[in-house]
């Protein structure tokens, strides 16, 4: 079986859902990550969602699609999404697409 290079885990802090993504986010990994997150979002509809990216070692433009897609999904049901602890390389990618103007980027540990 061909495995994805991305890992996802979830933590709830009050009304916030922290989605921790690790590994490499490319087209190959993004598909399974997207499906997993969307299932959780559909079931819980958390008002606040944080994509915690400190464990992401690589991200190409497939990651931009992943973040933008989740942002749109959360916004559609009335929630808010922010990106937490991205590496400089991930920030560079987000800036290239102008995403920092739309999606808040936060650093430091998020407290519920």
């Amino acid at each position: 079986m061909i495995r994805s290079g991305s890992l996802v885990s979830y933590e709830e802090h009050g009304d916030a859902l922290v989605v921790k993504i690790g590994g490499e986010i490319d087209h190959h990994g993004a598909v399974s990550v997207r499906t997993g997150i969307d299932d959780v979002l559909a079931a819980r509809r958390p008002p606040r969602v944080f994509l915690e990216l400190s464990g992401v070692s690589f991200m190409d433009s497939s990651g931009l699609g992943l973040i933008m897609g989740r942002y749109a999904l959360v916004k559609r049901y009335g929630g808010k999404l922010a990106v937490l602890n991205p590496s400089p390389a991930v920030v560079k990618m987000m800036n290239l697409a102008g995403m920092e103007r739309m999606i808040p980027i936060r650093t430091g540990r998020k407290k519920g």
Binding site: D26, R34, F58, D60, A89, A97
Partner: protein, 150 residues
């Protein structure tokens, strides 16, 4: 500021590989290119930029060129004099009807699968020069040029 690109620089070492257009090979392709380029002692940022650009080009082959099946992706890495890295990614897929349009930021023909349309923009931003040759029905060749600092 972009580096000057000498397209005729002498080749000092070369790697050639062929991979089927399976998505799992995106990571293998960029890792192999990075490993080969490591002999020039690039900075971590240069290596990350190169990996990203290669990943975009290979993903284009998988997602667009061979959208209806699996085909061959040929990757040639040339280390040239003056610390110039040249990576050629070639497919024999469907080709691009309008290369100029495809290179526009945010342009995508696959929005429903959350393609961001930033592939060529990433390649152009992270490399010194990008050449694209394509013929509909015959395939596409993308050549990335990146000069490494001393």
């Amino acid at each position: 500021m972009r580096n000057t690109v000498d397209f005729s620089a002498e080749v000092q070492n070369e790697l050639c590989m062929t991979l089927p257009s399976l998505s799992v090979n995106e990571g293998i392709a960029r890792a192999a290119v990075a490993a080969f380029c490591a002999q020039l002692n690039p900075t971590a940022v240069e290596l990350a930029d190169l990996k990203c650009a290669v990943s975009e080009a290979v993903t284009n082959c998988i997602v667009h060129a061979y959208r209806d099946g699996v085909g061959e992706i040929r990757i040639t890495v040339k280390l040239c004099e003056g610390r110039m890295v040249q990576v050629e990614i070639r497919d024999r897929g469907c080709g691009i009807a309008d290369v100029r349009q495809a290179r526009q930021p945010l342009f995508t023909t696959d929005a429903e699968n959350e393609r961001s349309g930033m592939g060529f923009t990433v390649m152009e931003s992270f490399c010194d020069s990008v050449r694209v040759h394509s013929r509909v029905g015959r395939g596409t060749t993308v050549i990335l040029f990146k000069r490494l600092h001393r």
